[in-house]
Amino acid sequence: MFNKSVHNQQVEKKEDNNLRGYGKIKVEEQGIEVKDIKQVLKSVLPELKREKISRSESCF
């Protein structure tokens, strides 16, 4: 059952210090693998403001 697989998400922690560490949620049995970008992004942006670009439109 899907709900069960979500509750039992297997979160892999990369131990290689050369990598910045990220959570990979595997749902392999269903043919879907999901990767989380938030953890990686935290290495450069602890907080990400999710606001549409205000003044750097495609022109500038």
């Binding site: 899907f2 990767k35 990686v40 205000s54 022109c59």
Partner: protein, 453 residues
Amino acid sequence: MRPVAPETRPSFLMQESFAIDFLYFGLPCIWNEAIDKYLIFSPYRLKIATVNPDIIHSDDTRKKLAQLDFFGVPAKPSKSEKIVKIGLILTTDCNLRCKYCFVVPQARIRYMTPEYAIRIIKEKITPEVEEIYLTFFGGEPTLNMETLKASVEYVQNIGVKANFIINTNGTLSNHDLDYLIEENFTFVVSSDGVPKINDKQRPMLSGVKSSEEIEQTIRRLVETNALFKVRATVTGKSILYLKESIGYWDSLGVKFAHFEPVASSNKEIKYPSQEIYVEQVVGALDEAEKVEMWIISSPFMNLLTPSTYFCTTVAGEDELYTPDGSISLCYRVQEYDHPFKDFIIGKYDVNMDSFNKYSDRINLLKKIDVSTKSNCNNCAAKYICSGGCPLRNKVETGSYMGIDGWMCYIKKALVHDAIIRIDRALDKGQVPIIFGESIFENLSRKRFIKKRR
């Protein structure tokens, strides 16, 4: 039709890698040929899923992704009473003569007075406002330092948090540059890349090259740890040097590079073919990954900020004030009697000392929404591209609601490439370089200036 540079005409028809990409319940879904699987990107939850092709259309897959919180709603235009965003076009004058310039002809050069700039700021600062974002633009805005300094000083003394940004051609004096650095400005410095290209496309008024002065400015910004990006206009000629330019900027210490295809009414300016543009940008992105440079460009600029509308300025979230008293919703439209005067949505009445707004034009521009463009319905890039720049669409198709086919191709191809790049970067534990815009904007917005008292 765009004039295409002969040297960038493709010798063969490139396979369209994005041909089978599609919009998966509002999310970009692209086919990754290298692994024979689909990639579904959720900008809402910052996740990416690899999905086997045999289950991509199953209802079970959609339910599973919903359980993983993949789906969201693209943003619509909105305004906050607490935040005000103003662009001041300090002058239409410039000391460069860029081949593709869109600013008004020399005969109609104007400068904004300090008194008018302060009047504009006063108009926008209501008691509810807590933050002001002030962008200085031109022409070359540093040719009007008197008004710039008066605006900065006024804002610093009214008790709101202030954030300043300037778009400069990089040829300003050391004295002016140091003032702006001291005031914690964020910088956008125009540079078209390697000197042999920059100096052809962006000569000084006297005809001499501008690259040495631009380099000096960039080095000073690097030395002082200022936040800046270089901004390049890409033509049919310069596209062939984009990868080389990444290396050049890296050698100067540049960390953020922004490039956009040219949009010029000058018939002498050649466009790259769309296939060669994509091919060369992909090569430049590979180079940027090697040197770890953040990249900003419109096809993937809004990857993390999906929305139904193209740009915040056209949507009315920002307002631009020109030296002739007009209020514009596009940086390219800088005077009242402009051919695209639909973007002029108001005018200052000197006699009444008031700003009059044209609601019919405001409403016309507000209607430009990707939801109304049937051609975009199934496009993987729908809410990242948001239907493209209305002005470019008008120029190419005669209608704001049309679609500029040249940009459409480029965006589809580069969004496809971008999502594969995100997946690949995650496998290496790295932040994708194409998140440059979100990184830059978030860093810029932390640079508030406290009031001086």
